[in-house]
């Protein structure tokens, strides 16, 4: 489904210094995979996620999504593509304050051309177990519940790809495990997921591990037991 070919990304800092964030990254991700991208801070994993999510353009290389070349789309075309094909889950949830869970979940539908949007928000919330919290505002929900609302928002438009950037970074271990198990069950149901994290314990929930260092892929393979140390709570959740 995703085919990155020799992707490079160079930033120019305000000081004039140029930074090589990604260097010759080639990566293929098939439909139904659950890939964890790990690396230390500054390894380029966030940049890679931004490129994968069409939030940022690569300076070199080619990005094909379902055989369509999306490397050089216009801003508006990228926005439309993100809306229809990609769901995002962020570390800090990014829910609109003083806005009900249902309204938050339905936000992507505002920017969609789809006509059949009735009931999608309710269905997505039910899928993350929050059918009884639809009218609650973020302030009335726990951290874990807020992240579940965010997952429902990412799923509402039925995207091909779910991108999760440190989704458990703001949550304690027990709640983090809960979120990871939701992602796992979504993946079992066929959803393609890319998880970006610096936490090996969380990465262990995925089925494939891509390790980045200095903007390059240094290892890529299925997760075998013993590869990563698993936190006890995550083990329990599994």
């Amino acid at each position: 489904m995703i085919d990155l070919e020799s992707i490079g990304k160079t930033y120019t800092r305000q000081t004039g210094e140029s930074v090589r964030a990604l260097d010759d990254v080639s990566l293929r991700i098939e439909r139904g995979e659950f890939v964890a991208i790990v690396g230390a801070s500054g390894s380029g994993k966030s940049t890679l996620m931004n490129v994968l999510g069409l939030l940022d353009e690569p300076t070199e290389g080619r990005y094909r999504f379902d055989a369509e070349d999306v490397s050089n789309l216009s801003l508006a075309a990228r926005a439309g593509f993100r809306n229809a094909r990609i769901g995002f889950v962020f570390q800090s949830f990014h829910l609109l304050a003083r806005t009900s869970a249902l309204e938050n979940v339905e936000l992507p539908l505002l920017y969609s051309d789809r006509a059949d949007i009735a009931g999608l928000g309710e269905r997505a919330l039910a899928a993350v177990g929050l059918a009884d919290r639809m009218q609650h505002t973020p302030a009335e929900l726990s951290g874990g519940q807020q992240q579940r609302v965010a997952i429902a928002r990412a799923l509402v438009n039925e995207p091909d790809l779910l991108l999760a950037d440190e989704p458990t970074g703001n949550l304690d271990a027990a709640v983090a495990a809960e979120i990871m198990s939701i992602l796992q069950s979504l993946n079992r149901a066929g959803r393609t997921i890319v998880l970006v994290t610096h936490d090996p314990a969380m990465a262990s929930a995925a089925r494939r591990l891509v390790r980045l260092a200095h903007g390059r892929v240094v290892s890529d393979g299925p997760i075998a037991s013993g590869d990563i140390t698993l936190a006890p709570t995550v083990l329990e959740a599994r």
Binding site: L55, D56, A79, F88, P108, L110
Partner: protein, 402 residues
């Protein structure tokens, strides 16, 4: 994003940021309220003035007053140079005059039993009622024989009646004007407050001959009102009257009039000038307030954009195009400012109603002022939204989400 969704989002956002929205509304609220209030008030005042001017002066009439050139101050009782004979002679020479009434006005102490008050006492002829368009509400008026016999009969206004007679029936009652005893034969039709702010029910009308001979002992009148048969000819009639009066006063070519003469359309024209001045300055002031309000709204909205980078980043990530973001912020600013403007219009109109209860003016709604207020807040609202919207639309989602 579709327009209905855009408007719904704008309203939701106003609700989410209530305090900010309230401050943003302030400028358009005050501007629109001031504009609506003052222009409506001015129009109401002008309508009331025109109405009373019409009541006093009437269409197709000419007013001659003693003394030169001081017309708007009202007739002067002691002008000294104008007599009944002057006016009678002039009227004789000019064709097209339907009726006329000489008038003298003095302030005198009026007594009844233990009550004393000071009121305006007007002396008029038997044509008084017809010429000034005011009759008696109760009792009867005086006729030619009362004038010829200098009868001591009086018509009193409602205010006077209430003040000196209280609940007592004033008809047939005895009063003293100065030292002279009069009998009340009628109560004047209510009039209200005139264009000078005078209570025209606080006056007494007596036969002019009685007033001049028995009360004041002078032979000059303050003014005379001449009703022209054909209102279109009032200028011609006024010009002829002026010539006749100048001849009678033996004024040389190089001497100015020692009386003033004015037609009803000239008096009405003076009143309309007041409104023209208001039309020039009030919208200017309202407009300036609105523009300042727009500046405040734009500044607050820019601050809001800075504060909401995460929201903008999120919306961009989930598929908002730069145009969607731009329109979101323009709609939000415009909706807030326009709502403020609408609130201002309502406030202004409510203010007019309130003031009209307490001041002698009509509660008119100036739809032009309402339209200008609403239009101006729409224009200002959209203009104020442009800069914040541009900044929001240019945000890079990668930075905004960091």
């Amino acid at each position: 994003m579709k327009t209905p969704a855009l408007i719904r989002q704008a309203i939701r956002s106003m609700d989410r940021y209530r305090l900010r929205s309230a401050f943003m509304m302030l400028g358009s609220l005050v501007g629109a309220a001031a504009l609506t209030f003052v222009v409506s008030l001015a129009q109401g005042a002008e309508a009331k003035m025109l109405r009373t001017v019409k009541q006093v002066v009437g269409d197709g009439s000419v007013i001659v007053a003693g003394g030169g050139s001081r017309m708007m101050g009202g007739p002067h009782a002691a002008a000294g140079r104008l007599t009944i004979d002057d006016v009678a002679a002039a009227v004789q020479q000019v064709p097209g005059i339907e009726a006329w009434d000489p008038q003298a006005v003095v302030r005198e102490t009026v007594r009844h039993a233990d009550s004393t008050t000071e009121v305006r006492v007007i002396g008029g002829s038997e044509h008084w009622s017809r010429v000034w368009g005011r009759g008696v509400a109760r009792g009867e008026s005086f006729d030619r024989s009362a004038i010829e016999g200098s009868s001591r009969v009086a018509l009193i206004g409602e205010t006077v009646a209430h003040r000196i007679f209280g609940a007592e029936n004033p008809i047939g009652g005895d009063i003293r004007i100065g030292a002279v005893p009069f009998r009340v034969i009628g109560v004047l039709e209510p009039f209200g407050v005139d264009m000078h702010g005078m209570d025209r029910d606080d006056e007494i009308v007596v036969p002019l001959s009685t007033l001049m001979r028995r009360v004041t002992n002078i032979d000059a009148i303050g003014a005379a009102k001449i009703v022209v048969a054909d209102p279109r000819r009032e200028d011609t009639v006024a010009a002829s009257l002026r010539q006749a009066l100048r001849a009678r006063h033996r004024l040389d070519r190089d001497r100015p009039d020692d009386f003033s003469i004015m037609t009803s359309s000239q008096v009405q024209g003076m009143v309309s000038t007041i409104e023209r001045v208001l039309w020039l300055y009030v919208p200017l002031v309202g407009g300036i307030v609105l523009i300042i309000g727009g500046g405040v709204a734009a500044t607050l909205m820019l601050a809001s954009v800075n504060e909401r980078t995460a929201e903008i980043g999120l919306r961009t990530a989930i598929g908002a195009r730069p145009a969607d973001i731009r329109w979101q912020f323009i709609a939000e600013t415009a909706a807030t400012v326009v709502l403020g403007g609408l609130g201002g219009v309502v406030l202004g109109l409510a203010g007019v109603q309130l003031v009209a209860l307490h001041l002698p003016l009509d509660s008119t709604v100036s739809w032009a002022a309402v339209a200008i207020s609403v239009l101006a807040s729409i224009v200002v609202g959209f203009a104020a939204g442009v800069a914040p919207a541009q900044r929001a639309a240019r945000l890079n989602p990668v930075d905004a989400l960091r």
